[in-house]
Symmetry: D2
Subunit: 243 residues, 4 copies
Amino acid sequence: MAVRVTVWHEYRHEKRNPKVAGIYPQGIHEAIASHLRKFPDLEVRTATQDEPEHGLTDEVINNTDVMTWWGHMAHSDVKDLIVEKLHHRILQGMGLVVLHSGHFSKIFQRLMGTSCNLKWREEENEREILWVTRPGHPIVQGVNDHFILPREEMYGEFFDIPEPECTFLISSFGGGEVFRSGCTWTRGLGRIVYFRPGHEMFPTYHDPNVLKVIENAVRWAAPIQAPAPQDFGKHLLGWMDQK
Amino acid sequence: MAVRVTVWHEYRHEKRNPKVAGIYPQGIHEAIASHLRKFPDLEVRTATQDEPEHGLTDEVINNTDVMTWWGHMAHSDVKDLIVEKLHHRILQGMGLVVLHSGHFSKIFQRLMGTSCNLKWREEENEREILWVTRPGHPIVQGVNDHFILPREEMYGEFFDIPEPECTFLISSFGGGEVFRSGCTWTRGLGRIVYFRPGHEMFPTYHDPNVLKVIENAVRWAAPIQAPAPQDFGKHLLGWMDQK
Amino acid sequence: MAVRVTVWHEYRHEKRNPKVAGIYPQGIHEAIASHLRKFPDLEVRTATQDEPEHGLTDEVINNTDVMTWWGHMAHSDVKDLIVEKLHHRILQGMGLVVLHSGHFSKIFQRLMGTSCNLKWREEENEREILWVTRPGHPIVQGVNDHFILPREEMYGEFFDIPEPECTFLISSFGGGEVFRSGCTWTRGLGRIVYFRPGHEMFPTYHDPNVLKVIENAVRWAAPIQAPAPQDFGKHLLGWMDQK
Amino acid sequence: MAVRVTVWHEYRHEKRNPKVAGIYPQGIHEAIASHLRKFPDLEVRTATQDEPEHGLTDEVINNTDVMTWWGHMAHSDVKDLIVEKLHHRILQGMGLVVLHSGHFSKIFQRLMGTSCNLKWREEENEREILWVTRPGHPIVQGVNDHFILPREEMYGEFFDIPEPECTFLISSFGGGEVFRSGCTWTRGLGRIVYFRPGHEMFPTYHDPNVLKVIENAVRWAAPIQAPAPQDFGKHLLGWMDQK
């Protein structure tokens, strides 16, 4: 049974900044989705913020196994009701792969319980090296012991997240900063991945290693079986009462 | 320098139910606070939900190192603005010790990012045995390998919490259920403890082992130094720009 | 590509105790292996302690993706050289599923770095209830929120293990004890599972839930690709020298 | 009650290499010990590898609360019997602070269960920046958000350790590598710290930030009470039998 993936994207930079549009003519979401569509075990659709309900109708949410999330300039415009629905669905088992500036999205902050703050520096064509710190993990399958992005935006520690269950990538930057760039957590039945790279001004989502990590993360975060969108949140009776 | 402790309590059951009032004539908060006041390294005050601002003025919040939290019937009446202030202060370093039905408090759900749901059974004078699963941890100092509460309310797994950084107590109940009754997490600079026992219909907060664990938890959750209530949440420049 | 599974068993109780032989006429290893052989994605062989080299020649070790391990009365007879080879192979990526009294095996102690000690009580036909504490984890796929073994041997906390990366099952026993019965860790590239039930005097390995958890654990612990049995342990040059 | 600290050192480089002797005329152990001796809550002694029993008689081991460990060229000369005694004592509660090349010591490998391997580069007067990744942790009390060592030896990921319970420092190096330089684990009742810097050819143990972290780590790793050197490892009866 295919994993049903929804690639969600804010999709505003591309419409306003010709440089970004030059790098991602169809938007960042299409750069990601077109890679994922190569694999028959993944069933891919996209949704963007300025569609009705941000493209996230109940029908879409209830039929998504894993969602990827890129947002940056318009986090606060995402409706709280949609965030509530996403949160509920993740606790039921939907996977979430948060990309780059998505660290400040409402849904990621909601899942982490922290500020998700970090250090950053204005884009400077800076070299990022990503080092694998958990070889053997499914998310780094097919990736060497490190890979290099010649131009990226710097994110630096302290990254205010709960201690990850697994840290699979750590970056260094030209300025000497470090960052936990690949991390996983579990919330309810849902698996969460954070993956750092992806500033809109650079062709990061055309990089084969970046696309490979996203592809692996989507498979890893998929629920063990698509859970029915029923209410996990209600009080249950004790087991003796169920007999 | 003493640890400044605020024992927060919903304080409604005692006013409505004579049986509860019989067990806790001054309220659950006073049962806890009167134990903590025995120790010169702890500086203890109390605050209750029906005081103005729930007893949690800015002055109180900014001068609290560790807060203990008991709530049950009125979680939804706690004002969102107060929860925001508490959350901000915890990320700056204030410790939080969540007790029993506080698992469903707004502040605990906010910190965990999960539903914090669990199984439960109406009070049945049920035996609870709490087993130490991390001997040597400061929170179980002075506690034997297990202790018994002859009458408590059952809480059973699945307890919907993020994987704890440390699980120091696991309970079994008369009905055969189990529960992770002592857990710790870090959020921002703040240390969080959840400690299960404490149903209002039983004299749990008169039990010496229960009081000892709360006392230890308060000391463990204290910040390494009372952080100034300044803004931890703003963007910082990279280290190179600071030179 | 099938997962190559080696079901390893001490296989001494069955030869000496007619009661055990009555429950497991072909040995515990065959009870487990015959279940796993039902699945075309698993390629199953067995090995036992009293075969030459404990059945674990270099050829077997190098061509095993996941090993299950049951031992009890003869841990100290397992040759240190074989343990060294297993340890090396696990760090390269081989999965290990340790069963019941295997908690005191040399290989498990070597991987954990602790005594792996626990409380226990002579077999007493005692009821064990196993509660799922991480629903949604691949290892509990197809298992209800709990399952019951009517007769088992008691293991109680404190179980001297490193804090698990994930605790997916916790047991309670008739005597009121609790035990972390399903736990995972990572060592090098290898994934390790401990799964508690399985006293030789009871028909535990005929229980469908127990077999299901073992089957799931084997799939979960499989390496992301069978790593070549080459030396992972040597010093590497820094990445700059590799250019 | 003071924390009884034993600063253990291999103490061979200083005797053979005049450059090392120039930096540490009394040995690395004295550079560390002389800092710790400033604090009345710490009771400090030293022990070195070429003393009888490596300076680690039963009397010393049984009366040490926290040990720091530096070794490099002579790991294999440390007697297995001494390592066994240290391991047993740590599981009973003694803290261990492993420094720099101590990552390849027998005792650290024994506690971790992994190879503890890493990438490294011959000493090159390389800049190391250590970034705090868990502000608020007692081990980084008094340390800024980062500190710089102008000349150190490079250690790079993958560092083959179990996922740390807490990663409090991550380094970057001039060559672009990263390393988890401050990590903690629990083994039995004992708390373990790994702290990376300290190549013998550089004056690292004269750096105030490095000394502060070691001082903090010693206090953090101290047992909650000096446990009696009795046998923690024996089988215990179940609690019902103890009644």
